[in-house]
């Protein structure tokens, strides 16, 4: 996984609550294999009409925000379905950070596993960022994970992220390598647990 330390990029405001993972990646695209092309269907039904034409009023379709690397949205971003492809879609499009006042838990967890930062701010702060970006489209935003800070023109905020997720993103750790270093502990746990809870095995297990 790619490390995340700092990003300076165009930020696109999506000032809506409850942008669920069905909006980020509609279910009919769940069949797509992972080839780095999920970005094409990011926010598909919000971005395109039935004929496949861009909806001009959708923020990401406006010239100034088309290349956004950061998205600022409202409460409960990424709630709903556990589909990790929602994260693939954001990442493949080029988004590396989403700023919002709350996130779906599973979405945040999936984001962390793929190098996408979910930065938690208060509702007034996300509102102020949206307002600033709406006034001045080209305003570059800097998000620094080490210092947990967001700079957007005159606005300066601290964001919240779970410390374990922060460490994981900063190091770009591969979970499997970390877990494998605990191989002996896992084996010992399993052996003790099979004695303590023999009933926990499916009764028809081989």
């Amino acid at each position: 996984m790619e490390k995340f330390t700092r990003i300076e990029a165009t930020a696109c405001p999506l000032p809506a609550e409850n942008i669920d993972t069905d909006q980020i990646l509609p279910a009919r695209y769940l069949k797509l294999p992972r080839k780095g092309e999920h970005g094409k269907v990011l926010f598909h039904d919000l971005r395109f009409d039935a004929a496949g034409r861009e909806r001009p009023d959708f923020p990401l379709n406006r010239p100034g925000w088309r290349n956004a690397g950061i998205i600022v949205s409202g409460r409960n971003f990424g709630g709903g379905s556990s589909r990790e492809a929602a994260v693939y879609a954001l990442y493949d499009y080029g988004v590396r950070c989403v700023i919002a006042s709350s996130f779906g838990d599973i979405f945040s967890q999936n984001a962390t596993k793929n190098g996408l930062l979910t930065a938690l701010v208060s509702e007034p702060e996300s509102g102020a960022l949206v307002a600033a970006l709406t006034r001045e489209t080209a305003l570059a935003v800097t998000v620094d994970l080490e210092s947990q800070s967001i700079v957007c023109g005159p606005l300066r905020y601290k964001f919240t992220i779970d410390p374990a997720r922060r460490t994981r993103l900063l190091n770009g750790w591969d979970d499997f390598d970390v877990t494998n270093s605990f191989h002996d502990q896992i084996a010992a746990f399993k052996a003790a647990d099979r004695k303590a809870r023999p009933w926990a095995l499916p009764s028809q297990a081989r």
Binding site: Q23, N76, G79, I106, I186, F189, P198
Partner: protein, 468 residues
């Protein structure tokens, strides 16, 4: 004196292998996979790795399962590929699969419990957010993404940060005609779709104790719609009775040993929760959703919200956006909302008790709109047919189909057409959830049946007069 523990604390502690940087490595007792788990199997193949514990891993074909023409080949080659891909992955990795031809096939969150794979005290994961359902048994069960599915396949473990603890207490009896779905929607309306974010929910109180296992599963299923990491109910006699003689559940000495363990799975008196919410179950009317999030729920005797009367401009904008998508005018009565079709199905509300509740309303009546009934599992389907419920649905004019996720997510091809309005027993009224431009109203199976009979949203209690 030892510190009193919550049920969740106990479940967490018994699965913790090691701690590191504020996270714990947890042992996974059951891992359910489905067609959508293909990303994780690809990851496995890339590494040339094998499934660590195939006997703890079970596959079910549900998300893309056709609900019609089950006997023949699947016409849509992309859907056929999704199903055959799961079959191949399961066979290659020596995983037990409940495939389309298996008598035990159904929706993973219905099948796990009915086969006795889901048990109290277990840690259960699946690459599906509604895995919270299994918490109804006093299990720690939650949905995970593809990277975590791959990690569990390879190691049978998972890194997690311990969530906060939240107790939702519902006391008092639910009124006649109401069920767990009404309670779930009332709770979500109260705390919001992110109200339980970062929390493990324990449902407690006399209204919860009075629920059947089916009802508890409906409630825990919807815990994710309140943003909860998981939902759970402490196991009791209702739980133990349900588990008797289930295919994979412990029997004999193993059951005696399990029972000793399970009876301790309650929150100790005086245990501290990070957050407490209470709700008076006696005061709840049947709930329906009017908007595009499960939190947009109101009692059926209410009115469509009016953004003009909303103080907060952001909130007013949200309501207007939801009404525009839903094709609704502000202020009108909810019972005046005319529907185009109904759907009875999904991991939320397609168990035998749900089908009975819907059939009780539909008996000797005719649906004014077309609709689909997809039982939660093939086993539920057989039982419903033994009870003659299929005849009730068919006589009312609804279609009786095979089991799968079906019109809850639409990826098997069961879709609501653009602009159509569907009264649905499912869990999500998100934009486009049942199809591009489809409009979904969530409610209980009895309320969907009432809407079918009336052709518009209706209070099921008005149809119960003279019935019984």
């Amino acid at each position: 004196m030892t510190t009193p523990l919550t049920l969740f604390d106990k479940l967490w502690a018994r699965h913790e292998i090691v701690q590191r940087d504020g996270e714990s490595l947890l042992w996974v007792d059951r891992h359910y996979v489905h067609e959508g788990s293909f990303h994780a199997f690809s990851r496995l193949a890339e590494r040339g790795a094998a499934v660590a514990e195939p006997e703890l891993t079970f596959g079910v074909a549900d998300h893309y399962a056709p609900t019609r023409g089950r006997g023949g080949p699947i016409a849509n080659f992309e859907i056929a590929r999704m199903v055959s891909q799961l079959e191949k992955n399961a066979a290659d990795q020596d995983i037990t699969l409940f495939g389309l031809k298996d008598r035990r096939q159904g929706i993973v969150h219905v099948v796990g419990p009915e086969l006795g794979l889901t048990l109290p005290g277990l840690l259960i994961v699946c690459g599906d957010s509604h895995t919270s359902t299994h918490g109804a048994f006093g299990a720690f069960a939650f949905g995970i993404g593809a990277s975590e599915v791959a990690h569990v396949l390879m190691t049978q473990t998972l890194w997690q940060k311990k969530p906060k603890r939240m107790r939702i207490t519902a006391d008092g009896g639910l009124a006649e005609g109401l069920g767990a779905k009404d309670l779930a929607l009332a709770i979500i309306a109260k705390i919001g779709a992110d109200g339980a974010a970062g929390h493990a929910i324990e449902f407690a109180g006399s209204a919860i104790r009075a629920l059947s296992m089916e009802g508890r599963m409906t409630l825990c299923n919807m815990a994710i719609e309140a943003g909860g990491r998981c939902g759970m109910v402490a196991p009791d006699a209702t739980t133990f009775d349900y588990l008797k003689c289930r295919e994979f559940a412990p029997k004999g000495d193993a059951l005696d040993m399990a029972m000793q363990d399970w009876t301790g799975l309650t929150s100790d008196s005086g245990a501290q929760f990070d957050r407490e919410v209470s709700i008076d179950a006696t005061a709840i009317a049947p709930f329906i959703t009017w908007g595009t999030s499960p939190e947009d729920a109101l009692p059926i005797d209410g009115n469509i919200p009016d953004p003009g009367r909303e103080q907060n401009p952001e909130r007013a904008k949200y309501i207007q956006g939801a009404l525009d998508y839903m094709g609704l005018e502000p202020g009108g009565k909810l019972t005046d909302i005319v529907i185009d079709r109904v759907f009875i199905g999904s991991c939320t509300n397609a168990r035998i008790e749900d089908l009975r509740a819907a059939a009780a309303v539909l008996a000797d009546r005719v649906s004014k709109v077309p609709g689909l009934v997809s039982p939660g599992s093939s086993s539920v389907k057989r039982q419903a047919e033994q009870e003659g419920l299929d005849r009730v649905f068919c006589d009312a004019g609804l279609e009786w189909a095979d089991s799968g996720c079906s019109m809850c997510v639409g990826i098997n091809g069961d879709l609501v057409a653009e602009g159509e309005r569907c009264a649905s027993t499912t869990n999500r009224n998100f934009r486009g959830r049942q199809g591009v431009g489809a409009r979904t109203h969530l409610m209980s199976p009895a309320m969907v049946a009432a809407a079918a009979v009336c052709g518009h949203l209706a209070d099921v209690r008005s149809l119960m007069v003279g019935k019984n």
